[in-house]
Symmetry: C2
Subunit: 202 residues, 2 copies
DNA sequence: TGGCATAAATTGAACATTCAGTTAATTTAA
DNA sequence: TTAAATTAACTGAATGTTCAATTTATGCCA
């Protein structure tokens, strides 16, 4: 009855379960034993694949990065009209679906961990920087077409990332009865205005 | 040799040490035993004062709120020139000192905890909402003087809080070699422009 | 002023549980 | 046959919490 799997399938399976346990009980509640019980396997098997918990946590970070950088989002090459493409990008960045690419509880769990764990810190920093650099590149393109007016595209990208992350925080504490989209739309409007208006930066 | 203290001094003393241990080792490393060792007292004494760890964590949240709401910041009543008062407020909100009222690691620790702990969640939500409401009130005053132009002051306050929290995130991951102030200044400039420009919201 | 009662502060030792991790044995698949 | 996958049986340390014992401070009454 017992099915034997290979490392290629077992490792991601363990990570997926690790991820789910963190969602339910936080990193402090995510023990190797609990993950094993959830999967009906022996705890030692997890150690066998990851050697220790720190390794496994770093591996989970990589696992999440793959999820985050999945190709389905942020692909706008097919949109030829640059104006439309710009707005499609902005719509995505401030959309609910995009904000839930990774469970927000886990997202901030790793953010929190990054304060004391250099492995996590580096990985997290890397992914955010990649996203920022992607934005810079896009904005540069829009600027050449006269859609984006802000000259300092790096500053522009920094501001968008800042707004995007702050939005997560805001929706957690200040959204009250209103849905995510209500404030997200306003944030997007502001972002667009900022990028497209003349002389927004001195 | 041993000095006996009273609850009024012992409780905050324990919380301060709890706070420090979290800064150094995170919430998952902050055990009652470690706090006790740090203070050269017996672990039971901590239980005696807080009954259990969950209580103590909630008490720490209150303790930090007191720190955060300390009166020295955000007091601008003495500035009569409303224009100057407005800028003093904005300077404070985007200042390094203000952002370090509470250690950022602990700030996000409690943010992280709020996802699964309703006690923390309520307390945290309360303090952020208080701050937002304070901003609304201030902005309303500036609007009557014609300094702030944005008509939806609540939306304005929401945006400032969002920007402020996102800034923390940004400075953690994207600041690179540049100091906190560099990007904070830009964020503040943007915020001021947003609040004072005509027709920024449709 | 001095002793005594009383409550609070503090320690001590033990607890059941959970934790990550080790080592060796066994089963499965190629 | 050989290596990988999986389990079994442990370990030792750390955890939060308990209950009882002991020390310290304080107010009251003689």
């Amino acid at each position: 009855m017992r099915k034997t799997q290979t490392a290629a399938t077992r490792r991601p399976e363990i990570l997926e379960n690790f991820y789910q346990v963190i969602i339910a009980e936080g990193i402090e509640g995510a023990s190797i034993g609990k993950i094993a019980k959830r999967m009906n396997i022996h705890p030692s098997l997890i150690i066998h694949y990851f050697k220790n918990k720190k390794n496994m946590t770093a591996a989970l970070a990589d696992f999440l990065i793959e999820k985050y950088e999945a190709p389905e989002f942020l692909r706008f090459d097919h949109i030829e009209d640059m104006e439309k493409r710009f707005h499609a990008l902005m719509d995505t960045i401030f959309s609910f679906e995009w904000s839930r690419t990774i469970d927000p509880g886990v997202h901030f769990c790793f953010y929190y961990l990054s304060f004391r764990n250099p492995d996590i810190r580096n990985r997290y920093e890397h992914i955010i920087r990649r996203f920022r650099d992607y934005l810079i590149e896009e904005f540069e393109g829009y600027r050449q077409k006269g859609i984006v007016k802000m000259s300092n595209t790096r500053m522009a990208a920094d501001l968008i990332v800042t707004l995007m992350e702050g939005l997560e925080f805001h929706s957690h504490f200040l959204s009250e009865d209103q849905p995510f989209e209500h404030f997200a739309d306003k944030a997007r409007e502001l972002a667009v205005k900022m990028l497209t208006a003349d002389g927004i930066t001195a």
